[in-house]
Symmetry: C2
């Protein structure tokens, strides 16, 4: 393994000089020495030992992508296709800026703290954080943190999110405009101050605005796995009192459609479905899914930029970015006016 010392010896200078060149402190070194050193670095194939750097500088260039796993759930977050597009985007942007991505699932706050200290982690991405002990643990940290899709805020953190409320409102209003009044709301569990909660508020407000009564029994909360979503679709097939469904995730919508179809119902003729996210999958269902579009890769990129600005102490004007959503009209909603 080639070290700074090797370079120094080969060139005939001290480690300090080599280090200075590596860090671009050019003012202090003669042009010829710089050239020679750079040449030798190439020739000998020197790459910095990040562990050593990390040890001495208490900065590691390691960024953690943390998934806080509720201990009752078995799968880890990366298994969700929507998340994975996001991680891909994170990895690329981080890499282009000289950082490294560690993916880590934690169950407890002490898991998290241990991980951070293990590696001197420089910064963190977290998704779906709520107002709980886990958030409290994050608050106590003094590294940049970017929260994704979370409705908790803290002076030390940045947030990247979506117009969730507007999304819920827009989807619902669209259904109402198409003549629907008996609209089911399907989602994973609605947790206060969460993404789904905001969409739910938008849903209710759109109903209220149009003087459409809200029926609590039209709210269906359940897991997002395939079996559960399909069986929800089958249940809905028996509900003659419901003409449309707003599902807060496309995978949920797709499952519902599948369940409906398996029960002999036609979408959108018998029942309309609208989704949220606009993942690729939307275009593969039949009928193609009308949904609320969000730009996941952009979200990833912005999240990284947020983090990097903080890491490099670039003054940041805003601590929050809310990405716009918009409706994508395809074929899963029927007008019944």
């Amino acid at each position: 393994m080639t070290t700074i010392k090797d370079i120094a010896q080969a060139v005939g200078v001290s480690c300090t000089t080599v280090s200075n060149v590596i860090h671009g402190r050019a003012g202090r070194v003669s042009a010829e020495t710089i050239a020679l050193i750079n040449e030798t670095i190439d020739k000998l194939g020197y790459v910095p030992n990040m562990s050593a750097r990390s040890l001495v500088s208490s900065s590691s260039k390691v960024i953690g992508m943390i998934s806080h796993l509720a201990s009752n759930k078995k799968e880890s977050f990366v298994e969700d296709p929507f998340h994975s597009a996001f991680i891909g985007s994170l990895e690329r942007t981080l890499r282009e800026n000289g950082y490294y991505l560690m993916v880590r699932t934690v169950e407890t706050t002490s898991d998290l703290l241990a991980f951070l200290r293990n590696w001197n982690v420089d910064g963190l991405f977290c998704t779906g954080v709520f107002q709980d002990e886990f958030f409290d643990a994050l608050s106590g940290l003094n590294i940049p943190i970017v929260l994704i899709d979370s409705y908790v805020t803290h002076p030390n953190m940045c947030n990247v999110g979506l117009e969730d409320y507007k999304g819920g409102y827009t989807a619902t209003k669209y259904l109402i405009e198409k003549g629907h009044k008996n609209i089911a709301f399907a989602s994973p569990s609605i947790r206060e101050r969460g993404v789904v909660y905001e969409r739910f508020l938008g849903f209710k407000d759109a109903l209220a605005e149009a003087n459409v009564p809200f029926h609590p029994e039209f709210v269906f909360e359940q897991e997002l796995d395939v079996e559960t979503t399909i069986s929800l679709g089958k249940n809905l097939a028996n509900r003659t009192d419901i003409s449309a469904v707003f599902a807060t995730a496309d995978i949920l919508a797709a499952g519902i459609i599948s369940g409906l179809q398996q029960s002999g119902k036609k979408v959108p003729d018998d029942i309309s479905v609208i989704g949220f996210d606009d993942i690729n999958l939307c275009q593969l269902t039949f009928p193609q899914l009308t949904t609320i579009h969000q730009d996941a890769p952009l979200k990833g990129k912005l999240a990284v930029n947020f983090l990097i600005d903080q890491l490099e102490n670039t003054p940041i004007k805003e601590r929050e970015i809310i990405l716009p959503i918009h409706l994508v009209e395809r074929n899963s909603v029927k007008s019944i006016t």
Copy 2:
């Protein structure tokens, strides 16, 4: 940050003793000292500094999940939903064994080598490796490497893969048994010694065995993105000479079905489709997709076990695991006998 030194001072022993206790070298330390040290470790919240460990021991507990990105492609691998389920499985099993997962995309072999030296990476997972310079670079490494879904082998590496040939054969034979003779083969580009190539061989052999002529013009190679797969489906809708399609990936099959349906064709009445992978999505298409099942989470787990066995010098009998596949019969293939 609590260090070994802090513990040593608090207890009134030397660093060496603390280190010995941490590493379970109990024989050399008195029981009371051990208890006291462990207590203090808990109280002071000590966690090891992995950078320091890595520096001195030239082992880092860092495992890289490498994606070799063909430089012409823009997206990074994690964006594929099938891969992501796999990564989730990797992360969990690694973590349970005290390792850390770094996700990294590399474009060139020197990118790879730099990354490995940056972090003293202990081991590697790579997917879709072919017989090329990248493989040569891997060959020269002296860390454990587990190749996923690759048909290149090397005495220093382990392989985890699938019965791809059998999968191709089984799918095709199934179609033939259902009376199909004019079968299209749809896949990403068929590269020698690749997964798709094996499935292709299975396809051809099944045809030959049944004395069904192979038509090179029934082979469709293209990208897996949604637009392309849908447009392939639309193309196939115009082909009255084809009665069934074997797609080597479910996302491809789903896109084809979508394209067919958009062109007014009925699946499986007008044309039958069979997929490969059995991702969740299969159950969400309508009709539900008949496909070749593989167990991605298991694959991830086995891959990790392979790597850990090598890392801990557990003698390994076999260097290769081929996971079984089986046909899952749903509703996308029609019998036309």
